[in-house]
């Protein structure tokens, strides 16, 4: 550190670590002569008339303060300069003064008159800084002067000075709390202030001085809500957190009729959406939010708060986002809380400290509102570079989010974590698996098997942790797991971690009936090593001995006595006590006879299985985002979040008399329009906008009632809808497919309404009586996107979109079966719609079949193998399930290239089953698939029975959503489930189209630049004639040949199945085998992959 003389300046006891502490007090600080000299020289400099010398001296002094060194003996010399003209010197003197005034109160008083003068200065900065320093000097004598200064400043012309006054209030309050009443008056006055500058500071003062005076807020509530967006970030946080508490006392719980909401979440959703759209002013909003069926009406002021805070979710400040998130969590109707998830997930990219806090809060929220974060599951995946504390929190969140549908993904992810080098993290993962296993009964066995495998892990900590978790799991169903207990018993020889040893011993003792032969032997071994064991193990040895004595006294009587004797003389009194107690209980004697008769009941009573719970379970009684929540303990000054009132207090208290809110602070003219619009103007603008851009929206509401539009996303702004329609035709297909994903997600939510809409549409179409193909294809379009179906019924503006969809989705008349299939679909609509609905898999169906599905999942690497299959392109059959792995059931699949009846976006896959076992296989069907976004499966009808030696073929359809992602699903038989996956070669994701050469050239001209991929290749000799080239290309990709004028050029065209984007392939073969392959497609990924595949096919 610094040179020796510097130590003398140190205040005793304040020295940092690593700095030797010389036990001297401040008084003796000047013993060293060098020190005298130095301070003398500073004093001299301060006494001169030169500002530059003074400044130099002050800088040195401030540097001393900054290092935590004592400079208090310079006080008189410094304080003289408080009136110095040089502003920098003055500021530094202020710094000094504030730091030492408390210690040298008498001398500090010398400076007061300067500040009093400063308070009257014409310059607002000087007025403000005088008040700042005056209020920061912690000298009780000047309290009256401070009080006066604050009162005066509170009515200053300058908002900056008023802000300073607001800051001064808590300072004075902490110095003298008797001033509270007067200060509240000032706060009341400042709360009425209409500038954004003051708002944050005064609410801060309110929170510190009189948080209980909620009545002061009433009149200012609406103003604060409206100003909020323009207040600086720090003020926003404080105001939002205060308003959360306020709302909890003034409004009714929006979730009070929870059961009703749960029955019909869409309706609630709809109701709130309407509030948002319309809510023009308090009165009107109340009127619109009053559908006859709803007993609960949200107070318009409550809605105002929710509406005005929502934009702040997009603040750059993590603190503001968190504040809004907690507000929504505590105040918003259940259906609306979801909006905060996205914003919180975004914060996970921030600094690790921010992540830490956010994850803690997410962990708490995810217990109560799991659904909210489920779509973001992957954002919580763990990287090996994350700090351990972050890893463990993410693991907590993942565990909370795990449910029956996503558990396979989560477990596979956990499987990766188990091999991590970070052992603390591995231990936490094992705990997490344990929790998943207890919470989700269906995977319990899978998890248990995985954990048992971990027992052979090399790392002892891993083994130990597994043992502890296995113990807990076994307690739930001990009877079936004698094997595992035996396995564990063997481990006692090797495993040294006390907790694990204790767990094993407890298990053996508890379930000694299941391992009658091994148990006594374990006890024998333990008796031998008893003295060397840890206390916790010894206790369990005694336990084991007692239980064995009770069940099998013949073999273990002596051993038990031996153990008890050893324990009797143990150093630990707990063990001695336990031994004495046990002996009295189990060994029949004259006095203890009554008890020992019941000993067996005492020791071997059935014990309830432990419940593995999140440590975040009950944290939500603390206000989220607060320090208390983070620490899970009440921090000093924490304001309890009140419960909702039973009866709403009078809402009229918030009414402000005719003081028009629109007059609030005319800000900089430029910004006024956007940032400071009074409430009603804002709303009506909003309404107008909505109406203008989405005329059909309101139409649909009118025509088909609330259920119809319920499926529209809360955030699906008018523009996103209308744009998707316009852009899909202009060809932004990649993002469009994304839209469709969303829609699909939505459509499953509101199946009923969708179907209803569909039926309506059917009727309509029949009357329109269009050509067969036209009708059926647009029909199918509506299957996959609910929004288009809905809009078609209702509005003209959407007609265009439907037209374009039907254009895109028109399947080429390439194969014979297609027209027939369509015919059927058109005539017999009721027949084909139900399965397509099933494909969207409503949650109820999921849960029934999942039970069996999951058993196929293991924690070993083998489950990864299927996804590694890289299919060879071509029409030939490929293996889906090998005869051996399938226990006699062999499954192969092939891409038939015929349009899939029912949905032209699906690739039809022929599945060929053959039974080579000796027993018939029954009930062959597809288990509920867990598919990546966008991919959907149309299952084949269940095959009732397949006799030995027989084989059969079924057709299933898979919509790969124009990606080569594998579709993973389960093949179930009555007894077994197999985990299989089909990964399509890129060439199968398209269907041929027929076009003329001119059309081809025209389309190709549109798809240049980024959309064009060219590759040069040399054709081998074998591949130089027309027939072979065409055959090879068409085998690789499902494309149709386009007639071509020149002889050496081959052209092929197709459309991708899902989005219907054109794929144009040109092969320009020059003499001597040189050739150039060009693919034009707006789907660049598909284009690139296709080039690769075709080149490979041609050059082989």
């Amino acid at each position: 550190m610094s040179a020796a003389p510097a130590y003398s300046e140190d205040k005793g006891g304040a020295g940092g670590p690593g700095e030797p502490e010389y036990g001297h007090d401040p008084a003796s600080g000047g013993i060293f002569s060098s020190d005298y000299k130095r301070h003398d020289d500073l004093k001299e400099m301060l006494d001169t008339n030169k500002d530059s010398l003074k400044l130099e001296a002050m800088k040195r002094i401030v540097a001393m303060i900054a290092r935590g060194k004592n400079a208090s003996d310079l006080f008189p010399a410094v304080v003289k300069n408080v009136a110095c003209k040089n502003i920098e010197v003055k500021k530094l003197v202020y710094v000094y003064l504030v730091r030492y005034a408390e210690e040298q109160q008498d001398l500090a008083l010398l400076s007061i008159s300067t500040f009093q003068r400063g308070l009257k200065d014409p310059n607002q900065l000087i007025r403000a800084s005088a008040l700042r320093v005056l209020s920061s000097i912690r000298v009780p004598i000047i309290v009256p002067i401070m009080m006066l200064a604050i009162k005066e400043a509170a009515s200053d012309m300058s908002p900056y000075v008023r802000k300073t006054a607001a800051h001064a209030i808590p300072k004075l309050y902490s110095l003298d709390s008797d001033q509270k009443d007067q200060l509240i008056e000032v706060i009341e006055k400042l709360l009425a202030d209409k500038t954004t500058l003051v708002a944050g500071s005064v609410v801060m003062a309110f929170e510190e001085v009189c948080p209980e005076r909620i009545d002061l807020i009433h009149k200012n509530y609406r103003k604060l809500c409206n100003l909020l967006i323009d207040v600086e970030e720090w003020g926003q946080v404080v105001i939002i957190s205060m308003l959360t508490r306020y709302a909890r006392t003034q409004f009714l719980s929006p979730n009070q009729n929870e059961s009703l909401l749960e029955e019909n979440p869409e309706k609630a959703f709809y109701g709130s959406e309407e509030d948002e759209v319309k809510g023009p002013g308090p009165e009107e909003a109340a009127a619109t939010a009053l559908p006859a069926r709803k007993p609960y009406v949200m107070d318009p002021d409550h809605r105002l708060l929710l509406r005005n805070t929502k934009p702040l979710l997009q603040s750059r400040s993590a603190a503001v986002v968190m504040a809004v998130a907690q507000l929504y969590f505590h105040l918003a109707p259940k259906a609306e809380v979801g909006v905060i998830a996205k914003a919180l997930v975004r914060l996970l990219r921030s600094h690790s400290e921010v992540q830490y806090v956010v994850l803690q809060n997410v962990a708490t929220m995810s217990i109560k509102r799991r659904g909210m974060f489920e779509p973001y599951l992957k954002s919580f995946y763990i990287r090996s570079t994350d700090p351990t504390q972050i890893k463990i929190l993410k693991l907590e969140v993942l565990t909370n989010l795990a449910n029956e549908t996503n558990i396979p993904t989560v477990l596979r992810e956990f499987q990766t974590y188990i091999r991590s080098m970070d052992k603390d993290f591995v231990a936490a993962t094992i705990q997490a698996i344990g929790r998943c296993a207890t919470n989700i009964g269906r995977v319990r066995d899978t998890c248990l098997n995985g954990l048992v495998q971990l027992l052979s892990n090399r790392d002892e900590l891993v083994v130990a942790e597994s043992v502890v978790v296995i113990k807990k799991l076994l307690q739930m169903q001990p009877a079936q797991h004698g094997e595992i207990i035996k396995h564990l018993a063997k481990l006692t020889d090797n495993i040294q971690v006390p907790m694990a040893r204790a767990s094993i011993l407890w298990l053996i003792g508890e379930y000694c009936e299941h391992v009658p032969r091994i148990a006594p032997d374990v006890l024998r071994k333990m008796a031998k090593s008893f003295t060397a064991e840890e206390d916790i193990v010894k206790l369990q040895v005694i336990n084991l001995a007692a239980k064995l004595y009770l069940t099998n006294s013949k073999q273990t009587k002596l051993l038990t006595q031996y153990v008890l004797s050893l324990a009797k003389y143990d150093q630990n009194y707990d063990i001695r006590d336990r031994a004495r107690f046990t002996r009295q209980l189990i060994v029949p004697s004259e006095q203890g006879g009554a008890l020992s008769r019941h000993a067996k009941k005492l020791f071997l009573a059935p014990k309830p299985a432990p419940v593995l719970e999140s440590s975040f379970k009950d944290r939500d009684h603390f206000q989220l985002g607060s320090l208390s929540h983070l620490l899970n303990a009440k921090a000093t000054g924490y304001q309890e979040l009140p419960d909702w009132p039973e009866e709403a207090p009078d809402p009229s208290v918030r009414n402000v008399e005719e003081e028009d809110l629109s007059l609030i602070e005319t800000h900089m003219g430029l910004l006024g329009e956007y940032t400071e619009v009074p409430e009603w103007t804002k709303c009506s603008n909003r309404e107008k906008r909505k109406e203008k851009e989405k005329p059909f929206y309101s139409d649909s509401e009118g025509e088909s009632g609330p259920t119809e539009s319920a499926d529209s996303n809360p955030e699906s702004d008018s523009e996103s809808d209308s744009k998707s329609s316009s852009e899909s035709s202009s060809g932004d297909s990649s993002s469009e497919s994304d839209d469709e994903d969303e829609e699909k997600g939505r459509s499953s939510e509101s199946e009923q309404s969708e179907e209803e809409g569909k039926r309506k549409k059917m009727k309509k179409r029949k009357t329109v009586a269009e050509g067969h193909r036209e009708g059926s294809s647009s029909d199918e379009g509506s299957d996959s996107s609910s929004s288009s179906s809905e809009s078609e019924v209702t509005s003209e503006s959407e007609e265009e979109q439907v037209e374009s969809t039907s254009w895109r989705r028109k399947t080429p008349p390439s194969s014979k079966s297609a027209p027939a299939a369509k015919e059927i679909s058109l005539l017999d609509l009721e027949d084909f719609t139900p399965p397509s609905v099933q494909a969207v898999s409503p949650p109820t169906i999921v849960s029934t079949s999942l039970a069996t599905d999951l058993e196929g999942l293991t924690l070993t690497d083998s489950s990864l193998v299927p996804s590694l299959l890289s299919p060879v392109p071509g029409v030939g059959r490929q293996e889906l399930l090998h005869r051996v792995a399938g226990e006699g059931l062999a499954v192969e699949y092939a891409f038939s290239r015929q349009p899939f009846p029912g949905d032209p976006h699906m690739v039809s896959v022929h599945i060929h089953f053959s039974n080579s076992s000796e027993n018939p296989i029954k009930g062959l069907r597809v288990g509920t698939p867990k598919l990546p976004a966008g991919i959907s499966i149309q299952e084949f009808p269940e095959i009732e029975s397949l006799a030995p030696g027989e084989s059969t073929t079924a057709v299933m359809g898979i919509n790969f959503c124009d990606s080569t992602q594998a579709a993973n699903f389960q093949l179930c038989t009555q007894t077994r489930q197999f985990y299989v996956c089909i990964q399509p070669p890129v060439g199968e994701l398209m269907a041929p189209v027929f076009m003329s050469e001119n059309e081809f050239k025209k389309e190709q001209g549109k798809l240049t630049g980024m959309n064009e991929i060219t590759e040069k290749l040399t054709l081998p000799d074998t591949c130089r004639n027309d027939h072979i080239v065409v055959q090879k290309v068409t085998t690789t990709a499902n494309l149709g040949r386009v007639p071509c004028g020149t002889s050496d050029e081959y052209r092929f065209a197709g459309r991708t199945l899902t989005s219907g984007s054109l794929v144009l392939l040109t092969l320009d073969a020059r003499p001597a085998g040189a050739a150039q392959l060009t693919v034009n497609s707006e789907k660049m990924v598909i284009g690139t992959m296709l080039v690769k595949d075709v080149v490979q096919a041609l050059t082989q």
């Binding site: 500002d51 290092r67 808590p170 750059r316 080098m421 900089m668 976004a933």
Partner: protein, 419 residues
Amino acid sequence: MIHSLFLINCSGDIFLEKHWKSVVSQSVCDYFFEAQEKAADVENVPPVISTPHHYLISIYRDKLFFVSVIQTEVPPLFVIEFLHRVADTFQDYFGECSEAAIKDNVVIVYELLEEMLDNGFPLATESNILKELIKPPTILRSVVNSITGSSNVGDTLPTGQLSNIPWRRAGVKYTNNEAYFDVVEEIDAIIDKSGSTVFAEIQGVIDACIKLSGMPDLSLSFMNPRLLDDVSFHPCIRFKRWESERVLSFIPPDGNFRLISYRVSSQNLVAIPVYVKHCISFKENSACGRFDITIGPKQNMGKTIEGITVTVHMPKVVLNMNLTPTQGSYTFDPVTKKVLTWDVGKITPQKLPSLKGLVNLQSGAPKPEENPSLNIQFKIQQLAISGLKVNRLDMYGEKYKPFKGVKYVTKAGKFQVRT
């Protein structure tokens, strides 16, 4: 709210302290040191520590700990966010936020801290305002000051404090009026063993450097604003305008600032520009293993991928590595962190860069169970991988014609390949 602040360097010296209320003894930091010792790694020091009388909230930035002392309930993110803002301000003023820079400018640091907090509540944190109150140090200014005796401290109230746009100072004048925007996108991804993407998203930011005179009112529009559905804004952006028209309309702060940051998370949209073939194996019962990785381009939109670096945290049992790169150079730190860094450079598709060789393991130790994951860095100039494109920038409110520029860069963010 915030009671005191201590700055602590890596070796545990408290080199600066500042108190906004009454003085809290340095000894309170002992609790922090205790936690630090327990955590072993700097990254694992819990950001919030509870002590008998205080709460310590700390951040770790640029090898420094900013430890703040809190006495009453306050949202922890409030404090963390503020501490980061302090560090950002230091960075802004001194070019770096290091112990040396802070010690050299201790007076300015003190003046800054004094302005940023009043009685523990943030007062002025906007860089534009602070710079008017306290001028950043420059060599020229310190020479001029020493001759003329003028000071670094402004004596009028910064204009921004009073207006509704506190982020911009008034009276800005430039001879060359310029507005530059950098669209920087980082790909965060986890790629699994088999090469398929477990998780991928794009984290993008638009950083702006605006040097425009007067009070310009800008609006920036995009070709495909629909990509931006998860955005956070600088306070200067008019939210309503964005909601209704998808146009970023704002009066910019003067100088450098982050306009928006956004997240594109839909997996279908995230192209992964590189692939890695890897074969890392450790043999059982022999003191060596094989290490072989090859990097190749994939979906790079025709741009060159450059600045590739691969970092691997090898298991502890690895003693040394003997590798041959076909391109670039590699270093391995066998002593402390066991980090292998391979600086690859550019990918040329004709000859894919690879790194092959042997790994020496500590003999007798069991082979590591997990293969280390590969962290990859790269950069693609002139490309925003999400496809985001700026359409146009319009300026209102001022007469002159500014020079406008947009630059696109794609980088790897937290890009991890599991092996």
